[in-house]
Amino acid sequence: MFDQLSDRLQSTLSEVRSRGKLSESDVDAAMREIRLALLEADVNFKVVKAFTRTLKERCLGAEVMDSLDPGQQVVKIVNEELAELMGGTGEELTMAHSGPTVILMSGLQGSGKTTACAKLAQYFRKQSKDVALAACDVYRPAAVEQLVTMGGRAGAQVYEKGTEADPVEIASWALDRAREESRDVLIIDTAGRLHIDRELMAELASIRKRTDPDDVLLVVDAMTGQDAVGVAESFAEAAEFDGVVMTKLDGDARGGAALSVKAITGKPILFASTGEKIEDFDRFHPDRMAQRILGMGDVLSLIEKAESQVDERSAVELQEKLKKDQFTLEDFLTQMKQVRKMGPLSGIIGMLPGMGAMKQLKNADIDERELDRTEAIILSMTPAERADPHMIKGSRRKRIANGSGTKVQHVNALVKQFDQMRVLMRSMANGKMPDPQQLMAMQQGGMPKPKIRRR
């Protein structure tokens, strides 16, 4: 069984790619695979049908049949159509011209609204905006406490009136306060509700009417199945939402619900929540997501993530050092620390193109403790040793091993691996991409490599 939609599409299409010429039955076979993969990814049945129909027409058209590499053309078309389906390029929230921008959050129970509120607050806080949250979920036990705690963590003011007040009144009161206190953004958390619960849907509509929000967002769990479309349609009617926040995208759900909601309601997916931590929240990039599904990698996201964390000047310095082959263990340590700042390595690897196809890495669970050990070894070296690891012999080895609580073999292996890496980095700095085979060979080089545990 295929684990990922990207794998599946890639393997189907690489078969086509290797053949050179396409027949109609090739296209049919590819469409069958795509249909199955999309259904498994929880894309709505009706959307899948329409999607494969469009796809087939384009694939049988002249642009594919007459091209020299029809397989490549199919990949391109699937990519374009997927991106189109998910909403073209990224769309923006509407911000108020004056006064606080009011954002109303809605969704089913358990979709992650309260967490999404806090994360959105944090997102605005990073842009130095003054954010307030309104706690209008008076139904779920302890929902208000949860918002107070999480909002506090995000550095936002939380307006709450306990659980006795009417949600519509709380929202309206919170808006008045946000205006008085000249907040930049007011995010209104509401109770999770079933889209068929008329009373609560009416309440949501009244909150909307009373606060006249600039944006109404629907929070959708990435794991939702075929029902996502019905839910979205009902919320579109009652709350007239403007965009979607996809939550729990850090799981292995393929998020077909996102595609479906966009396709059926036409409302864009604006944000994606990708982790437990409050900062694991970002703009949703439909075009990149399509490429990720196809296995082309989410390189742009990775670069942005890296840029926000890695100091630009040190990056330039590093580039120079790599070119001149002056890269030392000291630099390696700095680099390793910076990369680790971006989050767990397994997450970063998933964003690299082609890595999805490498089974060893895909199911890899990089043991962060190994990295800790590598750090410890380098930290036990003198500056001179870090600059020139070749001087590490006999007693120095023993001292470093003792100092870092490791064994002499570990120190040896690190030095050896560092040498290999230096060769590789030099070629990369000169513009050559490393060959994955070479990378893997290096991985198998010695102990301080990140340990790969197969699941």
Partner: protein, 356 residues
């Protein structure tokens, strides 16, 4: 006619399992609980039961047919009036839209199609529909096993992904055990991660008249479970229910933590936890299968609680889980009130899925 079906014609035929009961007996709370040698102090009055049950399943049927795209529309009896390729395709579509998933859908439809073609089932609308209900009931009801609360104290552990309704389900189970069966219940707030999770459980403990054992925010969940079981043993309580933090099954460190909590529990009572349930949100799509599989590997899951069936989602993923992993669905949540947590009844469920 060229079949546009996604089914693979060469796929393996569905093999009927042995334990099928063609006449599923309605399931009550009493059927669903194994209370060992205990005599429930307050048993549910038996004569009230059928009335109440009809109400619940009428509600389930109503909610299941609330969707515009409900199966009921797709599978009216008219679907089987004329039986041809289109019939099977429409049936496939209906099951896929119910989140049953492609493999299980294909297996069910192929089996029914095969039985009709071979003449084992008469090509008559009513007969085909009834046979479909039987097949679905069989798929859903793999090895019906009651919730094992025979031990004293019995330890029940609740696991699942964030937002699937673990804490609410625990609150309702505690209420039933305490109010209907007169058992003394201790709740362990081992979700020390989510803000205000313990407060949410505390509110439920009060309603159910259960005792709550909690730790500091961020405390080790194992230690909370340990304390709760010691407290239950000291007081001679009947059941300990351990709430755990919601976690995505892809977070391997957190999945390992579940194993650790289990080991800590086993230090108190070697056979415990006696029952581990996973909550699956009925709106969940095919990812539910992964959830059930990985949680099962980490925490030896004995059964599924299918929550939020009161929406338009049909929870077909439960069929896929039962078919693929052999983990039976034990409880269903069909609404907000305490009575809306019910024992799962495969026959009734299949009928509700297809009701007109």
């Amino acid at each position: 006619m060229v079949r546009t079906s996604f089914r693979n014609p060469t796929a393996r035929r569905f093999v009927p399992s042995a334990g099928y009961r063609s006449d599923p007996v309605s399931t009550t709370w009493q059927d669903m609980l194994n209370l060992g040698n205990r005599t429930p102090a307050v048993a549910t009055p038996a004569d009230e039961e059928p009335e109440q049950r009809r109400g619940v399943f009428r509600r389930l049927r109503e909610s299941l047919s609330a969707s515009r795209k409900a199966l009921t529309e797709e599978i009216g009896s008219s679907l089987f009036d004329r039986i041809d390729d289109e019939t099977w395709e429409l049936l496939e579509e209906a099951l896929i839209l119910a989140d049953v998933g492609a493999p299980t859908t294909a297996a069910v439809v192929e089996r029914l199609e095969h039985e009709v073609e071979s003449g084992a089932v008469p090509a008559d609308g009513v007969a085909v529909r009834d046979r479909l209900i039987e097949i679905l009931a069989e798929v859903a009801g793999t090895a019906r096993a009651p919730i094992d609360l025979a031990a004293e104290p019995a330890v029940l552990m609740m696991v699942g992904v964030n937002g699937t309704g673990k804490t609410t389900t625990i609150g309702k189970i505690a209420w039933h055990l305490s109010k209907e069966f007169g058992l003394s219940v201790v709740l362990a707030a081992a979700d020390t991660y989510r803000a205000a999770a313990a407060e949410q459980l505390e509110a439920w403990a009060e309603r159910a008249g259960a005792e709550l054992i909690r730790g500091q925010a961020g405390a080790d969940p194992g230690s909370v479970a340990f304390d709760a079981i010691s407290a239950a043993r000291a007081r001679g309580a009947d059941v300990v229910i351990v709430d755990t933090a919601g976690r995505l099954h892809t977070q391997s460190d957190l999945m390992e933590e579940l194993g650790k909590v289990r080991r800590v529990i086993a230090k108190q009572i070697p056979e415990a936890p006696h029952e581990t349930l996973i909550s699956i949100d009925a709106t969940t799509g095919q990812n539910g299968l992964r959830q059930a599989k990985i949680f099962s590997e980490a925490a030896a899951v004995d059964g599924v609680v299918l929550t939020k069936l009161d929406g338009t989602a049909k929870g077909g993923i439960a069929l896929a889980i039962a078919a693929d992993l052999g983990i039976p669905v034990k409880l269903i949540g069909v609404g907000e009130t305490l009575e809306d947590l019910r024992p799962f009844d495969p026959g009734e469920y299949a009928k509700a899925l297809l009701a007109e």
